[in-house]
C-alpha cells in the first residue's frame, strides 16, 4: 500500500485529503503545519507528498526545496497545491513534481496522485 503524506496549515483541508485518499486505498498521514516535516518524512517514509504553497507565515515553496534536498529518493513526487495559477512555472525550480490548483476537482486530485505513483510516471 502506497504511503502519502499531506501537509497544510488548514486542518479542514487535511481532513478532506484524508477522506479522499483513504477511500482510494492509500495509507495516509496528515500533518498540520508548522511541523517538523523532515522528521515526519524520516519516520513515515512516504511514497508521495502533498504540500500546500500558501501557508501563513512561511512560503510552501521554500519548504518544498528543503524537503527535496532532504529526501534521499529523488523520485518521490511532491505535489504542490496552490490557489494561484501564475505560480506554476516557478514550481519546478523548487523541486516540485506537479501542481494542483484549488479549488480542485476530486478526480483531478486522485488522477494526479495515481499518475505520479505509477512506475511509468516521468520525473520532472
Amino acid at each position: 500500500m502506497k504511503r502519502i503524506l499531506c501537509v497544510d496549515d488548514d486542518q479542514e483541508i487535511l481532513d478532506i485529503y484524508e477522506i479522499i485518499l483513504l477511500s482510494e486505498g492509500y495509507s495516509v498521514k496528515t500533518s498540520i503545519f508548522p511541523v517538523d516535516i523532515l522528521q515526519l518524512i524520516l519516520e513515515f517514509e512516504p511514497d508521495l507528498i502533498i504540500l500546500d504553497i500558501n501557508m501563513n507565515e512561511i512560503n510552501g515553496l521554500e519548504v518544498c526545496r528543503e524537503v527535496r534536498s532532504y529526501i534521499s529518493n529523488e523520485h518521490t513526487p511532491v505535489i504542490m497545491i496552490s490557489s494561484d495559477e501564475s505560480i506554476h512555472t516557478a514550481v519546478c525550480d523548487f523541486g516540485a513534481t506537479a501542481i494542483i490548483l484549488k479549488p480542485f476537482q476530486i478526480d483531478h486530485l486522485t488522477e494526479t496522485v495515481k499518475y505520479h505513483l505509477s512506475p511509468s510516471a516521468t520525473v520532472s
Partner: protein, 399 residues
C-alpha cells in the same frame, strides 16, 4: 518674534525687495532717518552675503518684545552647508551698525539675528501692532518681481497639496489591491472545501435520494459561481498591478472550441447554442484565459436573454488571416451609451443592476485578456433585440 514680513532670499532681486521692505517697515515705525538708514544698510549687507552664499535663505522682519520694550528685528535663516560657513567678518558693517547681532547654528540651520531697540517715544500697543501686521499682510506687490514671487509661492503650495493627495490615493490604492489579493486567496479555501465535500457526497457509496442529489448539484453549481467571482476579483487586482500573466500556446482555434464545447453547453442549460465554425487558423493563446473570455461572453449571452432563445457562436477568418469570433444573443440588448461603457471596470448598466447579479468585472477582464493577446473586442447591439460581442485575434497562418 512677531513676524511682519517674510521673504525668501534666492537672487539679487530679492536683495532689492528686502531693502524696500525694511525701508518701509522702519518708515512706518516713524524711526529717525538715520536709524532707518542704519537698519536698512545692515539688512542689505546680511542679505547680500547670504544670497551670495546660498539660495536657501529666508528673511523675517518684525518686532521682538522684551518686557515692555520692543526692538526692530531682522532674522535670516539658511540651511547649513557641511564644511563651509559664512564667517563673521563678512558681516563687518552689520556688526558695527547695529547693537544686537548674533550668528549661530540651530539644528541644521544657521541663524543670523540683528536688532535695534526702539526708543520709548515710539509707543507700540496692540492696536498699532495689529495695524502693522494688516498693512504688510494686505500690501499689494511693490514690483513685478514681487508679484511673480508671490504667484510662484501660491503655485508651489498648490502643487504640494496635490502631491500629498496623490501619495495618499496611491497608498490607498495599494492597500486596496493588497486586500483584494489576500481576500481572494482566503476565500478559495472554504470554496475548495465546500466543493470537495459536495463531490464526495455525490460520489459516495451510499445512495442518496434524487432530491438530495439535486440539492448537491445545485450547491456545487453555486460554489462554482463563487469560485468564478473570486477569480474575477483576483484577476482584477492583478490587472491593476500589471501582474496578469499568460502561458501562451500555439493552438488550432477550431480544435480549441471543440474541446471547450462541453464547457460551453454547460453554461447555457436553458438556451439553444449553435456553433458555426469557419476555416481554422493557428493562434497563440493562453487556454485558461481564453476559457475565461468564452465563459464570460457565453454566460452573459445566457444571462441577459430569456430561456429558450438562441445563442450563436461563430468564427471567421478575415482577408488578412486574422480570426474573428462572435457571440450573438437575442437578449435585452443595450443603448448606444452603454456600448461605449460596457468594457469599463465595474460598469453595470442601470437597467441590469437590479435585475441581474454580477460584479461588473467580467467584460473588463475579458477585454484586458483579448488586448493582451493582440486582439480587439467590441459589441454591436440593439435594445430589446439582442447583442453580438465580437473579438479578433491575430492569426498565425492557416492550418
Amino acid at each position: 518674534m512677531l513676524e511682519l514680513i517674510t521673504l525668501t532670499l534666492e537672487n539679487e532681486m530679492d536683495l532689492v525687495l528686502a531693502q524696500k521692505k525694511a525701508s518701509k517697515l522702519s518708515e512706518i515705525l516713524k524711526l529717525s532717518l538715520s536709524t532707518q538708514a542704519t537698519f536698512v544698510t545692515a539688512i542689505a549687507e546680511l542679505c547680500r552675503v547670504v544670497i551670495d552664499f546660498t539660495d536657501t535663505g529666508v528673511l523675517s522682519l518684525g518686532l521682538v518684545q522684551k518686557s515692555n520694550r520692543y526692538s526692530l528685528s531682522g532674522i535670516i535663516q539658511y540651511d547649513s552647508v557641511k564644511g563651509s560657513t559664512i564667517s563673521d567678518e563678512s558681516f563687518f558693517y552689520a556688526k558695527k551698525l547695529v547693537p544686537l547681532f548674533q550668528n549661530y547654528e540651530l539644528a541644521d540651520k544657521v541663524i543670523i539675528e540683528i536688532g535695534i531697540n526702539l526708543p520709548r517715544s515710539i509707543s507700540l500697543d496692540q492696536v498699532k501692532i495689529k495695524f502693522l501686521k494688516d498693512y504688510f499682510d494686505t500690501e499689494p506687490p511693490i514690483s513685478a518681481y514681487e508679484e511673480v514671487k508671490r504667484k510662484n509661492l501660491e503655485l508651489f503650495l498648490i502643487a504640494e497639496t496635490k502631491d500629498a493627495q496623490l501619495r495618499q490615493s496611491k497608498y490607498i490604492d495599494e492597500k486596496r489591491n493588497e486586500f483584494i489579493s489576500i481576500a481572494s486567496h482566503e476565500l478559495k479555501t472554504p470554496i475548495t472545501i465546500i466543493k470537495a465535500y459536495t463531490q464526495l457526497a455525490l460520489m459516495g457509496k451510499e445512495a442518496c435520494s434524487e432530491q438530495v442529489r439535486d440539492f448537491l448539484l445545485k450547491i456545487d453549481a453555486q460554489s462554482t459561481k463563487l469560485r468564478n467571482l473570486v477569480q474575477q476579483l483576483l484577476d482584477t487586482s492583478k490587472i491593476e498591478n500589471g501582474r496578469l500573466e499568460y502561458n501562451y500556446e500555439e493552438v488550432d482555434f477550431n480544435s480549441f472550441i471543440q474541446e471547450a464545447s462541453f464547457l460551453l453547453t454547460h453554461l447555457l442549460p436553458k438556451h439553444e447554442l449553435t456553433v458555426e465554425l469557419g476555416a481554422s487558423v493557428m493562434v497563440k493563446l493562453d487556454r485558461e484565459r481564453m476559457d475565461q473570455v468564452f465563459t464570460n461572453l457565453i454566460s452573459n449571452a445566457g444571462k441577459y436573454s430569456r430561456a429558450g432563445s438562441k445563442v450563436v457562436l461563430r468564427t471567421a477568418i478575415c482577408k488578412k488571416g486574422n480570426l474573428t469570433v462572435s457571440v450573438a444573443d437575442e437578449g435585452i440588448g443595450m443603448s448606444e451609451e452603454s456600448i461605449e461603457k460596457i468594457f469599463q471596470k465595474f460598469h453595470r448598466d442601470k437597467q441590469v443592476v437590479n435585475g441581474y447579479s454580477g460584479l461588473g468585472m467580467g467584460l473588463y477582464i475579458a477585454s484586458e485578456i483579448i488586448n493582451d493577446h493582440g486582439g480587439k473586442i467590441w459589441v454591436e447591439s440593439t435594445k430589446d433585440v439582442g447583442s453580438t460581442f465580437f473579438f479578433s485575434l491575430p492569426g498565425m497562418g492557416v492550418c
